[in-house]
Every structure is written in C-alpha cells, then in structure tokens.
Symmetry: C2
Subunit: 550 residues, 2 copies
C-alpha cells in the first residue's frame, strides 16, 4: 500500500528536523531498541567537561559559573545542544531546532558580559527548551498537525520575549501529544517520543518531548503547558521537577493552543527542570519583568519574597502541616507511589513537620466537570485540524464521541464548576480545625497518577492531576524514586473501586515498568506559587537528608 | 380588564415592602410628581442632628465619630433608616428591609465598643445598602423576577459575611433592572426607581436603587454590581462616587446573578459612595479579610499601600499623565460632558498634572464583542425566568432576538475578545512613547455615557462603559457637575457618526434633563484598584480646588 500524502508530509518534516542536526553529532550506530535505559549514552559522545557541565550542576550553579566568567554562554549552549542532538536520536524528542540563532545569541551574551561585567538578566546564558506549541518568530509552528506543516510563527509568544529579555538562550522546541490533550508525546507529524529511563515506556504528555529532553539533560530547564497534567506527568515520568502555576501567573499570550477561546479551565505555562532550584529561578525571572504589561490575563502579582518565606504558612521556623492523598478511592495508586509517599512522610516527620491524611473531596465530580468542559465542543477543534490533512486521530484523554453543547448548557457546566471550586476551598479551609498548626493544611501531597509510566499505547489510569487544574491550585512536582522491581512487587489484591482500578492492579508488573519515574505533587491553593516552590524545596531537602541517613 | 396574576403578586410584594416601614415614617402627603428634585425633602422630616449626620459628614468622618464615641451605631442607623424610608416613598428605591436585625446589630456594636474600647472592624457602625441580587440569609431573594417572589436566601453572600465581620450594619436591599441588564432600576416586581435629582429622569442601572438611595443620603455607601456599567451609570446619574474593580478583586461568591456560569465577562461587585474616601474605606476593609480564603475567584492580592501611593505611576510627588477620551466617534457626548471634561482638564493641569487626548481604540469592535458574549445564550436565561410567571420583558441593553450559539462559536467569540484585550493593552503601553512622563498614560478619563441621564424609557445612547468590562479595566466614577440648562445649551449640529449619534443630538434638550448628574470615569489597567482610587481622589481634590478658585 502506498503511503498516503499525509504520511509523506510527516516523513519529510521529520527528515527536515534530523537534517538540522550537525553531521558531526549524528550517531553512526545508534543502540538497538532493546537497550531501554539510554540516559547515560550521551557520556560516550561528550568530553568530560561537557558531561560535568550538563550533568553535575544545578541550574543556579550553572548560572553562577556563567556570571562569574568560568563558563561562557557559548560553551554552555554547545554542550547542551550536543546533548540534545544525541537525546533526539535516542528518544525522538525534538520538533524544531534553531541552533544558529542560539550561537549568535550566546556570542552576544558573552560579549555583553565581557564589555559590561554584568549579566543581561537572571537567566544569562541558560539554554531553555520550549514545548512545540510556543511561538518563536519565523520557526515552524505546526502544532504537531500534519495539515499545518510548513506554517511559520509570525510573532514570539510573550514568554519567549521575556525569557530572551532575561538572558536565556532558546535553541529547540519539543514534541507533544496530538491536540495537546494526550498523556504521551505522540502525534502523526513527529511520531512518538520515548522515555529515556526505559524506552519501552511513555515519556508522558502532553509536554512529553520536554520530559525526554530534560530527562536526557539536553536541557536543564524547559517550558511546558498544563491543562490537566501535561507538565506534571512528563516531569514525573522522567524524574524531574516542575511547576504548574495558577491561571496566567506565567504569561500565555501569543502562545498557540488547542481550542483557543476555551478560557474556563485555562492551559498554563510552567517550567520543567532538572534541579529543584530551577522552579524559583524561572518564576522569579519571569515575574520580575512585570508580565501583566504584556499579557492581559496575567494578574498584577510580582514575585513575593515574603510569600516564598512562607508568611502565610507560619514562617520559616514553624513546622508545616502536609496532608497526604494516599488513595482517591477511584484508582488505588500502584505500589511505587505508596513507597514514595511513605518515604516522603518519614522524611517530612523527621524534618519536624506534621503529616496528616488528606480527605479526598468530590474527586469523581471534579473529574467529570473537567472532562465535560474540555469536551464541550464535541471535539470539533481537534476534528477540524485532523481534517486538514486526513491524518487519523490518536488516543487522547477526551471522549470525542460526545455532541457539541449549546451555550446555555456550557454556562451550566461552568456554574457547576465554580460551585465545586467554592466547596473545595471551604473543605480545605475547614482543615484548620483539625491540624496541629491550627492553620489549614499547608499543602496536599499526592501521587501524579494511579499508574506508573505506562508502556506505549496503554491508557493513563488514575486521575490525580485534573482536579488541580479545575480548582486552579498551584501545583509542583518533585521526583521521589523510580520503579524498583525487587521492592515494588505486586501487592495482594484489594476490593476494586472501579474497572480502571482493576485494570491498574492487573496490568502492574514491576519488571515491565522498571526504572519509570515516580513523582509526587505538592499542591497549594490558588496563586500560591512562591509558597509551593518553597514547600517543594523543603520537601525535597527533607527527602535528600532522609535518604542519605537511611 | 382584570389585573393578571403576575401583577397581583407584584402589587402584594410592593405592599409588603411598604409595610416594613414604620408607620411613623410614612409621609401623610407625599409631594406631587410635578416636584422633580426631591433630594432635600428628607430635611423636612429629620431632626437637625440627623440631617447633619446624614448629609454633612464624609464616610471617614462618620466612622471617626462612631469610633470616638461621639455618635453611637444606634443613632447612626436610626438616622439613615429614617432617611431611607423617606427616600423610598419619593423614589421607590427599596426592595427589602430588615431594620430589626440592623437595630440589634447596632446595639451589639455599641456594647462591643463600650466594653472593649475597640471597634469591631474598620466599618464599625457604618450602614451599608445592598443591591437586590446580593444574598442575605433568610431575606427575600427574588432577583426582581415575579416568578421568584417569596424565595428566601439560604446563605449570606461572601461579601455580606465580610462586611458584617468588619463592623458594617446592613439594613436594606435596593431595586435593579430586570435581568440585571438594563440601564434603569426597573422591573415588573418593584416597578421603577426615580432619580431624586429629577424624578422625570432615570436613576440609571442596573444598580439603580443604590443610586437613588445614596443620592437621597439614605446611605453613604452601598454595594452594586457591574458587568457593563451597572455601578457607574447610577453613581454618575445621581452625582456619586463608585468603583468597578477588576474581576473578583471584591468577592462575588454566593451572590446570585443573571446567567450564572457566564464567566467570560464577569460581573463584579463594588462600592457606590457619597464621598470619595469611601472607595478606599470599602476596598481596604474587604481586602484586609483575605477574601481569597472565601472566594475561589478572588486573586491573592492584599490591599497595597505602595500601589495606593502610586509606586507604579511615578510616586506621589511626580505629575501624572491623564488622557481624555472626549469622543469615541460613535456617539458624541452631550454638552454637559464636554464642559465636565474641560473643567476637569483645567483642574488637573492647574494641579500640575499632564493631560493628553486618548486615542479611542477599536471601540466598535469592543462593543460588539461585549454584546455577542453576553448574548450568546440567545437570551434563554432571561426568557426562562420571565416564563416562570408570564411577566413581560422590559427594555434592556441586549438584543434578545439572536439565536443561541454553539460552544465552538462561543469559544471563537472568547478568543476574539482575548485578542482584543491583548491589542488594547499593547495600545495602552505604547503611549509611553508619547507622554511627557515617559510612562504609559496613567489613567483614561472618559464620560460615563454619550447621553445625560435619560427620561424614563429612553434608551441609553453612547456606550462608554462596556469596553472597561471587556478589558477588565479597574474603573472609578466621580461626579463633576450636573446638567445646567443655562450653560449646557444645544450646540450646532455636527456630521453624525451614527443614528445613535443623531438621536443623542436630536433629543438633547437641557431643560428636560435639568439637574441630571454628570459623571466621569477614571480608568486604570487590570487590578489597579489602589492606584485608580488614589488617582480619583487626586482628580476630585483638584476639581474642588479649581471650582473653589473660579
């Protein structure tokens, strides 16, 4: 059978991307697909200094060395670009490359530092990768739809202008799910991105390319988007950190998206990072630029060092009270999550904090509300984009068989959601009567999903992320462990809550899911970015101390 | 012809409200309808001390006297209640009265102050009136629909709890437009509220009862709502101050509204006040209570004294740059607005500020965008409520003949609106290149409408308010003058921009519109409540100085 036209377009576009990689960086004999963990392979190709530079430094340390002049921006972008090229050949994570611009930019930054003795901004010299949807003027902007291949971005997204103003180096864009609504970096243009920790597993989605690239240390920081888990799942599945801010805190203006005008549950931009300090570095750098002057939906809220110092949570000296969501009673999380939560609990207790249980609140209703709102156009936006080329629909998280709603039905859905937000806020605030701090629970600690990183084409089971989008809770993601077959054995059966629960139990086989990243959410209330970042740093530090001691 | 059932229900409900007024406060011989200006009539019925208390004090002065113990809360509420009863008999402004509660409350406040020497909160003893839609537990909550007469509110709106927590005394609710979408306080339950400055003119709407009540000094402060001008028009038409905050800054949760779930252009709550200081008093008192803990849509933005001190506008010492929107080129404002704007311009220049012209930006597109979004359900919400009783539709500002939209059409409308918001923000920011301050224009100064307060049943002409709701600009309203027939004569004809422009020109007759309030908007960017309040105080003070000197 002849390959159809759309397939030819896709093949051509993939070849185009590969053609952008310097010949010297192409691997003559890539490892066979039976090699699952490819995260160390770049070491074979990089000099020792580039290995150290890409693997051994936190984001702050890297920035510090550049500003101190012990590393140049040019050295840094060369190392990360080299590593990104190898990452692409192993995981298929890139969708667009503009290395020439990056080199020019790096030279400019180096000249600036030399001439003035000052960095251009707090991100001076930091390579930052971008999810494919984020517009970079003059580069490919096809939204991973075959029918849009060849489209170029007319403008920079506001976030792009801001990152550049603050000194970042942009050099590539990364793969995402079809329609930006799937739990894997997978679409008909670029195909599938693989998880570098275990290539038989999903990289997560929709910001899957970011997960794989940063998992390979082809970047230490990237920008993803999240409307239901799209930043958190890839971060978790590759052992990374991330922040899903509340609506508009990080400016979204001029970033392309799916179903534009759906402004009820807002897609948000946020960082995915290799080290925990990156969450503050990114957020503070963006907020310093007064982004509300460029994005009408960004609230006028500068970075607050007071909030970062937990002024609303008893200050830095007092203990915090974390509440763990062990199980939403819809899908019981797989064994590695229980182990992760137990370890984190011990670590937090050990560090002097309180830990209670979080009582799940109307989780099924929240999931249904999320789904109904995002599905209210009956999938029309997706279908219209697929129809441009005739490319087929891939699995995503929405049921596209529903009928489009009328506006009055839609407004009813929106009202139900606002009612649920109010009830959930009241539920959270009411915890003040039971915590030892007499404050409401400071943060909820929850698994990122019921299932560990799936094998390709398996559905995501256990929805632990979308309620945060529905309620607009600021949510961070931190890595805790990975799937360890010798420890995370299959537990005895339990009385199943649902068929998804049974599926999750049945398909769990620690050997198959070996090395998959196991990440935990730290969930704060709306517009608590500063406090959530600080609490994540605290939890991360507590865990490191605890693991070092045990 | 027999009155129909719905009319009987309405008549009964109006009698019920009248029955709540103490017999001793009923006027035996109300003035004939030929007496147009009734604003001074309460003086005939109140003692001199109550006249002084209700007319001669600013809100801060009143609060100061109560906290100093020179006035009791009980004295104060008695005086305002008496005045409100007279106001109702002259303008038909009240829809619900709960004076017994208010008296108990006042006694409680007086005991508290006596026992502790402390006020309960910053609003201690201040009587505050509420627009009819705002829920007060156990009181009538019929939304001015005949079919809902007899319904009682199950809970307090969040704003009600907050005002009570801060020491306010609540005692009445006030009339509004049918469906909360009309430019006059007029509906089939309570009928029409009249403008106390000239009873042949409209009180404005939708928060028309607030305008009339505060215009009569039956309250110095009330809470209205605004989705297209509903706070600003009544404030302007009665010579009052007001603030339309940006979305959710003042918590809206648990307040009933029209088309609930329409969350694209959000209705907002805000104060209408008799003195300019009330805007800060109200906003600060509400924000001090951390309202984001009670309303999920309220952004985590405490009152900022820094912003009130104009940190983002060159500080208190530097001159500001105001830009006047003289004419949107769709409907030319009537002569009194030109006089008001010229006076305000002179006053601002005299006070050392800069004044430039504001270049109107896509005003027709903004008006259409506003209309299309609010009309997207084809008027279904209104029709369903009218159908409950069979009561007829009254004139409102929406074209209810349109068909209901689908969700994908709606999302397109929302996207067009966000695009317009971004373009408008860019337009505003770009003024920095032309102002003498090298900052973007600090505030836009604009008339509240093209027409002065209309005669009953005349349409509002000249839409100068809805773009502020579409863009979510924080907007204050200040009184400048009133229609003065001997000065505001009809000007020579001009080339008409539109049929509405011609209508506005043609119907203008200063004698007919005598004494109607002429108010001006001070428009800031999103979430600039503190700065807009300060700039309004500055403009108001400049005007007073200027008028005193001339």
């Amino acid at each position: 059978m002849e390959p159809r036209i759309w397939q030819q377009i896709a093949v051509r576009r993939c070849a185009e991307v590969k053609g952008m990689l310097p010949k010297g960086m192409l691997m003559s004999s890539p490892p066979p697909s039976s090699i699952l963990d490819v995260s160390d392979i770049p070491r074979k190709f990089l000099d020792i200094s580039d290995i150290l530079l890409t693997e051994k430094l936190t984001i702050s340390e890297l920035l510090g060395r550049i500003s101190a002049g012990s590393l140049t921006a040019t050295q840094v972008i060369n190392a990360f670009f080299h590593r990104a090229c190898i990452a692409h050949q192993l995981t298929n994570c890139l969708t667009e490359v503009f290395f020439d611009r990056a080199l020019e930019r790096a030279a400019e930054l180096d000249r600036h530092l030399k001439a003035t003795g000052q960095v251009l901004g707090p991100l001076h010299g930091l390579p930052i990768s971008l999810k494919d949807q984020i517009d970079v003027q003059g580069t490919e902007q096809n939204m991973c739809y075959v029918g849009l291949v060849g489209t170029k971005a007319r403008d920079n997204a506001v976030i792009v202008d801001i990152l550049l103003r603050q000194g970042a180096i942009l050099y590539c864009k990364t793969n995402m799910a079809q329609g930006i609504m799937g739990a894997e970096g997978y679409n008909n243009v670029y195909g599938r991105t693989l998880n570098p920790l275990n290539r038989s597993l999903t990289c997560g989605g929709s910001s899957g390319g970011e997960g794989a690239l940063i998992g390979m240390r082809g970047a230490l920081m990237g920008v993803g988007s999240d409307i239901g888990g799209s930043i958190r799942l890839p971060a978790a599945f590759q052992g990374l950190y991330a922040l899903k801010p509340s609506y508009g805190r990080i400016p979204y203006a001029n970033t392309s998206s799916s179903f534009e005008g759906q402004e009820t549950i807002r897609s948000v931009l946020g960082p995915i990072t290799a080290s925990v300090d990156g969450l503050k570095v990114f957020t503070k750098a963006v907020l310093e630029t007064a982004p509300w002057d460029c994005d009408p939906w960004t609230p006028r809220m500068p970075w607050s060092e007071e909030r970062y110092n937990l002024i609303d949570h008893g200050g830095l000296k007092g203990p915090l009270c974390f509440a763990i969501l062990w199980d939403d009673k819809i899908v019981k999380p797989s064994p590695p999550y229980w182990r992760a939560l137990k370890e984190l609990k011990s670590a937090l207790l050990h560090a002097g904090h309180f830990v209670t249980d979080w009582e799940p609140f109307k989780m099924e209703e929240a999931a249904a509300s999320w789904m109904d709102i995002l599905n209210a156009d009956g999938g029309k936006d997706l279908k219209q984009h697929l129809a441009l080329s005739g490319e087929p629909r891939l699995n995503d998280v929405l049921d596209r068989s529903v009928t489009e709603r009328s506006v009055s039905e839609y407004w009813r859905l929106c009202h139900r959601r606002t009612t649920l937000m109010k009830e959930s806020l009241d539920h959270w605030m009411s915890t003040a009567t039971t915590t030892p701090t007499q404050r409401p629970v400071d943060a909820i600690v929850a698994p990122v999903a019921g299932c560990v990183p799936m094998r390709h084409d398996e559905p995501l089971l256990g929805n632990y992320t979308t309620f945060c989008n529905l309620m607009d809770y600021t949510t961070a993601l931190m890595p805790v462990t990975k799937v360890l077959p010798h420890i995370d054995t299959r537990p005895p059966s339990h009385e199943f809550y649902s068929s998804a629960d049974q599926d999750n139990y049945t398909r769990y086989d620690p050997e198959l899911y070996r090395d998959g990243g196991v990440g935990i959410q730290i969930i704060g209330k709306r517009y608590e970015e500063e406090a959530v970042i600080r609490m994540t740093e605290i939890a991360d530090q507590a865990l490191k101390v605890h693991l070092a001691a045990s």
